[in-house]
Assembly symmetry: C2
Homo-oligomer: 406 residues x 2
């Protein structure tokens, strides 16, 4: 008789963004005349089309797939070398990080990787997460039976170390008193839009090395960093190759949310006893995944060409101009705001007596603006709300006008 993975039943509600999508759909069904008026600043989905250099390479790669002589079947296990090489040059060597091409695993995106990476770890590891946090880290560990029991009152799992990140500590996690085995860090942060200094990140690396923990470092938003001294990669810190896995994405730096490409770096010196984590992930990658499409990997390499870099920088500048408009609009309207300087997310304090979901309903029903309730990211997100800079300039301006008129 089949037995299901009971851990799934412990998960509270559905995946945050599915819940939001359903709420918005229900509102549109009930108010069909308002459907076109909705401005979506909720989910972190990009809106600008792919850069011309990427489009051009997609077309030429499609043409390669049409010709027997250049057709590509299964990709190499780690991904195409042409892509891993330009990643090494641009994302690592250029920043003084000694990462080699065979330490990079090309994937279909950071969500899959940050969800699947748990496969290579035992069930009885204790995880530490920032609170609020990107839900995938906690949910996938819950599915793996690593988080204990969920308490609906505290909205916390019994076996997770929560590291509150609130205005009281400047949204910077503190070294926990209880010792974790796996530490999830995401900077620039989703959802708070805040960053970490290199010195502070070095403290985390030193701590992980001391206690034998692994840091899973989600750097999906590194392209949005403009402030000096904010690290783009955890490997800028001394010793990080001995304790850190880094996850990267093409979704936010090059608009690949619907095109799907990412990569994970596992340095070969990262070991547990005699076993390299690289060898475990290589086995997982080779057995449960069959590569990102050739044409998408080719397009990913185009992001690193001179034209590609110039064009994707312009896209990021466009979104960061939106971030500036949101910051200024919210400040004018009297909101207390954070983030939005080195990240496409603006994190605001909800008005007195309004919970995160109250504010969600208010924005949706009264102003037809979709955002993301902070409590959806964890209990310490209660009383906060996330807006994203990924809308169009026009809609971003319109949303701020609505908020300032309200």
């Amino acid at each position: 008789m089949i037995k299901i993975n009971d851990n799934y039943l412990k998960l509270p509600g559905s995946y945050l963004f599915s819940t939001i999508a359903k709420k918005v759909a229900a509102y549109c069904d009930a108010n069909p005349d308002k459907a076109d008026n909705i401005i979506r600043l909720g989910i972190g989905d990009v809106t600008l089309p792919l850069a011309p250099a990427v489009i051009e390479r997609l077309h030429s790669a499609v043409d390669e797939m049409a010709d027997k002589k250049t057709f590509k079947g299964y990709a190499p296990d780690l991904g195409y070398e042409f892509l891993r090489n330009v990643i090494v040059e641009n994302d690592y060597k250029a920043r003084g990080c000694d990462i080699s091409a065979d330490e990079i695993f090309i994937s279909d995106g950071a969500k899959s990787d940050s969800g699947n990476i748990g496969d290579i770890f035992a069930q009885d590891n204790k995880i530490a997460v920032c609170d609020p946090v990107y839900p995938v880290y906690v949910d996938t560990n819950a599915m793996a039976g690593r988080t204990g029991e969920y308490n609906t009152d505290t909205e916390k799992w019994s076996n997770v170390i929560y590291m509150p990140c609130t205005r009281e500590n400047d949204f910077s996690p503190e070294i926990p008193s209880d010792t974790p085995d796996i530490i999830y860090l995401c900077f620039p942060n989703n959802p708070t839009g805040t960053t970490i200094s290199k010195d502070k990140l070095q403290e985390w690396v030193d701590y992980a090395l001391k206690v034998g923990a692994v840091i899973i470092y989600d750097a999906a938003y590194e392209a949005y960093i403009s402030t000096p001294d904010v690290p783009h990669s955890i490997y800028e810190c001394n010793g990080a190759k001995g304790c850190a896995i880094e996850i990267r994405s093409f979704s936010k730096n090059a608009g690949f949310t619907g095109t799907r490409l990412g990569f994970t770096v596992i340095p070969k010196e990262l070991k547990c006893g005699d076993v390299t984590l690289h060898s475990l992930w290589a086995r997982r990658h080779g057995t449960k995944f069959n590569g990102a499409p050739y044409i998408i990997q080719a397009a990913g390499a185009a992001v690193y060409t001179e034209e590609g870099k110039k064009q994707t920088k312009e896209q990021i500048a466009y979104y960061m101009n939106n971030a500036k408009i949101i910051r200024e609009g919210l400040e004018t309207a009297g909101y207390e705001i954070y983030g939005g300087v080195d990240a496409p997310y603006i994190w605001l304090k909800t008005p007195e007596k309004m919970t995160s979901w109250d504010f969600f309903d208010y924005l949706l029903n009264e102003l037809n603006i979709v955002g993301t309730p902070g409590s959806g990211f964890g209990p310490s997100g209660e009383g906060y709300f996330r807006l994203t800079a990924f809308g169009s300039l026009e809609n971003t301006k319109k949303a701020m006008e609505r908020i300032n008129k309200a």
Copy 2:
């Protein structure tokens, strides 16, 4: 202190096809003058370029991604409806199977799905597999800790029910005496190239319903079926919606091995107690995966257009002509052969006193032909060898000439 998933350390050797790739690379390094002479009939990778209808749609979908008005970000959780609808019409309704579009989950391929599906089941389920078998089923269950201990002498896991498929039983698995919870079936079969009749498959469905087991039915090769009465889908059997998950691929019917697209069907009536497996997989799919690329999903739908169907049928006819040439070539050379009629795989008995790997080395070193040793698919595959019809016509003919001259 981090603890790894020790189950990975129990896995014998590396993933089969990685081992083969390394052996071939080593041969080419040692014999650079022979590298160009190698004919690859080993891995099940296609060689014909994508069909014109698919190429055309890829180009137009790329153009959509270049325009703000038609650009696509994150895909819907289950995959695009336009694709799920044509799948329902062509693969299910047309065969009298009552499957609805919201029972279909679009993915990046059958390997990922057949590897990841185990996530929704408890660790203490007992699996039954055909022997020989596609390695992914067993390896991924081993990684999940479901298979007990590996015995290097018997080449078997202690907690797996092996169902031998050899010439003695016409390569048809028999209902096991020990009761499994999860039954993996793949027809047309990889690696043996043999099929199952509808009556025989109905016996499996009846059995699974009786004992409360789930059948994971891998139908990746259904497009190669030409014999009447061989079922294309398990849902052609009565009651299958209550016990079966079906996994499909675009790799072999449309040449998407390097383009990556597949889908999994989980009928909503398939339950464990009150819980639908559909709801569990929906949660997994929404949390640990972010969809196949829009342009690839659009290309997948093009496979179902009139032109697409005509062109992909021609590709299959091309490969099945190769299968015929291999069958005839091997028969002329005196080999005992199976499969290759409703499947792109030909399964041959190795010569007396030659193990599967002996024969692999012989073909590689003496004839510069790469095939796949039967023992790589399980202990009952020992003494057999797999050749695939996915090479070019020219190379397939050349390989048979070499074998007949030897």
